[in-house]
Amino acid sequence: MSTVLSEPKLPAGVKLPIYMDNHATTPLDPRVLEAMLPFFTNKFGNAASRNHSFGWEAEKAVDLAREQIAKLIGATAKEIIFTSGATESNNLAIKGIGEMYRERGNHIITQVTEHKAVLDTCKRMEKLGYRVTYLPVNADGLIEMDDLKRAIDDKTILVTIMFANNEIGVVQPIAEIGKLCHEKGILFHTDAVQAVGKIPVDVNAMNIDVLSLSGHKIYGPKGVGALYVRRRNPRVQIAAQMDGGGHERGMRSGTLNVPGIVGLGAACEISRLEMDEEATKLKAMRDRLKEKLESNLDFIHVNGSMEHHLPGNLNMSFIHVEGESLLMGINDIAVSSGSACTSATLEPSYVLKALGLGDDVAHSSIRFGLGRFNTQAEVDYVADKVVDVVQKLRELSPLYEMAKEGIDLTKVQWQAH
């Protein structure tokens, strides 16, 4: 170790700042950008224009994208509905199914660690007179199939359970849920934003009826997403939530975002071809990061099941260190924290709390989201930096000192404020 105080030389493969927040969004793959560019300029036609070549050209590009997306999830092109992103897809799925199947029942089942786009939509449904069951998760972040079985009643029309969680990367038992819903004749929607393109998704093998996906989580553009809507066995109907020109089989009006859609298609195509190799690489880097942190630090906690897990995700709590102060110390690395201080609501992560973790553990959590463009050199840099800053902050932490002295922090009478 050099003791000379000078600008440290960065190892090869490391350029600061390092982006390791790929669950929030991903950079656009240059290959995707290349596919999109002509559709901003020369190929600007409206895909709904039926009587000239500009329209035909746009429609052809959109049809190709539909094929590319469908292929990635085992669907057919006609089952893909374009939207502005996964928030819209989730809204359309839940509200559209609720409205369409209202006479059959009014009960919806979801679970507590869903994204807000699902949870808040479900809350809206409750205001509209629907009943919603929010299933709990176990300490690993997984729902229990028995809970789901018990929750189903004769008024249940929809089960909506996310494929993989955006904070803790935990992958739910989607095939089992799909099988159960199929047997019971209940529609199954999954918010698969974090899973599509990262791990195998097959709507038929998994009995998924409706699925939300997004462009910008898979190295595609922002502002474009899709909803898979099953056409046979059963044929799912969705009431449009926006009135207009009747685009997308009447389910989603509005002129198609052709460049965005071309980008989403290209991103899906790349993911389909490279997913296996990429997942292996990401998992190896994630495990390396985990191992380095675990071997250099005490009082750490891995959040969520590591067995049922996205390859690029690591959510770890550095107990006795507050998340925001940790982020401040590693400000050349872009990651997220479950700390209240980093959220607009000043509440710690509801996902981590749902696992049964105390607020103090949630406050100490960091989400690492590894992606396509991260390198092993970056992983090593991040691990060293995190270890360094955590150690520094623990020198400052009265809680770490007390824990080291063997004081049970749960027995201390804190003066909450």
């Binding site: 507050e322 925001e324 105390g358 009265p398 809680l399 804190w414 909450a416 404020h417």
Partner: protein, 142 residues
Amino acid sequence: MAYSDKVIEHYNNPRNVGQMDKNSSEVGTGLVGAPECGDVMRLQIKVNPDTRVIEDAKFKTFGCGSAIASSSLATEWVKGKTVDEALEIKNTDIVKELALPPVKIHCSVLAEDAIRAAIGDWKKKNTADNQAAAVPVAVAAN
């Protein structure tokens, strides 16, 4: 969140980190906040029994950068003051000095509470009838 230069400076070079013997009669200890709230401050003062001047101060803080900076600044400010002068330090002074944004005002409140709690603890130890221990602790804004 963008931090002020002063917050960053205190975060990078915290003053007076450490601990003193909490059983010493010259030392007053204030432990405020709670882990589930995301911040805990421990501020200690060492008071000269004759002059009532705070001769040394130490802190440790679990919390965000603003909480660390607020407590670091508090130790700087109390040093050299008498306990009565130290009680004059207001959270708003800390807000002003560190340019804390509205969402971080509670960090300054906690630092003021820590000063009061430390002084209260010292007074408790050094008052025969223990009556003077009642130093009012500001009600923290939630």
